[in-house]
Symmetry: C2
Subunit: 405 residues, 2 copies
């Protein structure tokens, strides 16, 4: 394994990498006037670009547009809005997404085919194209506009999510930045979330695609808020090569470090999404070790972190550890009751399937931390996986009972 | 199709069929003193008996005992308790379940191997055997004890669930009764629920098993409260033959009518479970038609009724119909966006994938009924299925945050 150096950049954003610009405005799509709802991310040089999209059979118009345009793995800009998802809007929705890209291309002076689109918000409503047109004309791009973009993509998110890392390898130095939104409908396999990742590294397309998929598998595909998936989920990774490093390809110098840095930034953003789930008051981290395969470990960790009963028990600080075992039992993975170890925080609850003489109050305390860790060891194999989620609160219900009204 | 007659019996219970007795007591297992927590269901003649159990890999001790004892398809009594599930209790739990059966057999003067056991409540705690022993000695059985049994199996249920039907066929008359509990953790494929069904019909074992599975597939396997499954789920069907009808076997006179009656009673109880889901204020009925196969229709109907976002939208009367489409898209079933029809209550929302000019207020009204119906037509085939669930309320979270404490 090569030795690179990866450092998180204080205040890092999606425009931390060289050559990236962003800006945002309030176009009037959202109801709340003192917010941002339309933004552009732009690279001064064309980007090798990879994307991952919703697994839903219902895909929003922007997702369809991106999937088509990314066939050649190239983009220079992304225009994004919150407040309206442009999903389930038929042919007119596709035309609206294409027009949104064309308006952006015109303003930036680039080819329309190089502009990607992402929209989040209510499903089944058309975009207010007049507002979007006027908004695009108002946006001012700047090198430090990443934070504005982070705010413009928020829906029920309570905080913007963004970061960047500085990476040093034998093949040169580069930066990776990222911005994400989530909040509700976050579930394994990309539920309603956006993540736009940028890097000034020079990276070959096939490696970039593979690296993004691997990073998503240990991050965005391992978080769950409420088990639902949106038609709009979009993860993009744009590499503009401005750092001048030796090109990164599979097996090249810097490839491992690039993957590690990308994994770290994606896990950072994924945890931020889970922590800010709708109504969430706690981050839950579930690690399953000793599984027969990584697939089984992943399945089990996600099952526990997704369980409504685990989420409510954590919310209320209820030391009902049986729910963790129940969720494990329902996951479908192979288990032997007499082999399971369970820790909640640092409290040993089960050892070899036997209940340890632990203090219930100590489990209550572990559940009342802002970050709750649950560790299961199946003692059947060597594979492990970690998943993240959040507690389920009364406020989640309140938020989702009133969304459009 | 034969023509039989099926009538629901006002005030019908699990002891409505001839030869069945029940009784219950407060043994002290639950914390609430003015409740019942231990009961016995007994038949004066041995019963041909079929059972269905949890799909979880973690099975409670009583489930393991029942599965073993039902290999020969015979039982005369069931002893049940609420307050403690005797799950994840290892070898001592199995011994406790066996002792609970033996104590009941002794009191009833029957063979211990003919007694089944069902326990519901907290996982990972041992049964208080002294209380159970004293309780079993106190129970008085009677022909009208069915209602007491219905109360004794309740946990967070707010109302007892029970009914019975009188059936007339060319081969004779008989009665089927049933009692159920559920409330939380109700999900397709038998989540935490009990249902004890009795009949005085003479029924051959293989047919009884097949009929029970078919009935569960259109009822208990089509309801969802919160997506979790307990280690304790138990459905039993006991037939004692006291009605003296011609024996019912596959294809015999009365077989179709028996199946229909069993389906009806199971659907009645399943809907009662969904309506009384923890914190539920509304029953949601989702029918998916025009699917390519029954399996796809079932999958789609269950996906919509299980969606947290659909459940919260219905709870709040939020006319955000896009969530129904989103849940359908995530179900994995084959769909064509341009073919979908959607009705909420009697309001047409989509026709051939196009949004109809409906009044949002009328959807709000439909969502504010105590029974909310959602009809989807995929227009791809001829198969259909119906699933039931309930809304997700703030109270659900409150109940489940405080369960053991």
């Amino acid at each position: 394994m090569e030795t690179g150096k990866i450092d998180f950049i204080p205040g890092g954003t999606v425009t931390s990498p060289e050559g990236f610009f962003a800006g945002a405005t309030y176009a009037g799509i959202k109801k709340t006037e003192d917010s941002l709802d339309l933004g552009i991310l732009f690279s001064e040089a064309p980007c090798v670009t990879a994307g991952l999209f919703t697994s839903s059979k219902i895909k929003s118009a922007p997702v369809k547009l991106c999937q088509e345009r990314l066939k050649e793995g190239r983009a220079v800009a992304v225009v994004v809005n919150s407040g309206c998802a442009n999903a389930y809007t038929g042919e007119r929705g596709l035309a609206d997404a294409a027009e949104m890209a064309a308006l952006t291309a015109e303003r930036m002076g680039v080819s329309s085919g190089d502009v990607l689109v992402a929209s989040t918000g209510v499903t089944g409503r058309r975009l207010p194209m007049e507002l979007i047109k006027a908004g695009i004309e108002q946006i001012i791009l700047s090198r430090d506009g990443g934070h504005e973009l982070a705010k413009a993509i928020m829906t029920t998110d309570t905080v913007p999510k963004e970061t960047a890392v500085a990476v040093k390898t034998g093949g040169g130095e580069f930066t990776i930045g990222g911005v994400a939104k989530g909040s509700g409908m976050i579930h394994p396999n990309l539920a309603t979330m956006f993540c736009f990742l940028t890097t000034d590294a020079r990276v070959e397309l096939d490696f970039l695609k593979s690296a993004l998929r691997k990073a998503a598998d240990v991050s965005f595909n391992m978080i769950s808020i409420d088990g639902d998936t949106s038609p709009s989920d979009t993860v993009l990774l744009m590499a503009n090569g401005q750092a001048g490093n030796e090109p990164i390809t599979a097996g090249s110098q810097g490839a491992d470090t690039f993957q590690q840095a990308l994994d770290q930034i994606c896990i950072y953003l994924a945890k931020a999404l889970a922590r800010d789930g709708e109504g969430a008051t706690k981050l839950i981290e579930v690690t399953v070790g000793g599984a027969k395969s990584v697939a089984e470990a992943r399945l089990a960790a996600r099952a526990v972190v997704s369980s409504t009963l685990v989420k409510t028990a954590v919310h209320g600080g209820d030391p009902n550890w049986g729910r963790v075992i129940m969720a494990l039992g329902n996951s479908g993975v192979e288990i032997a009751e007499s082999k399971i170890d369970l820790y909640i925080g640092d409290v040993g609850v089960l050892k070899g399937g036997r209940v340890l003489p632990f203090n219930e109050e100590s489990v209550v305390r572990a559940f009342n931390q802002s970050e709750v860790t649950i560790n299961l060891h199946l003692n059947l194999g060597k594979a492990s996986a970690t998943a993240w989620g959040c507690d389920l609160s009364e406020e989640y219900v309140t938020i989702n009972s009133e969304y459009t009204t």
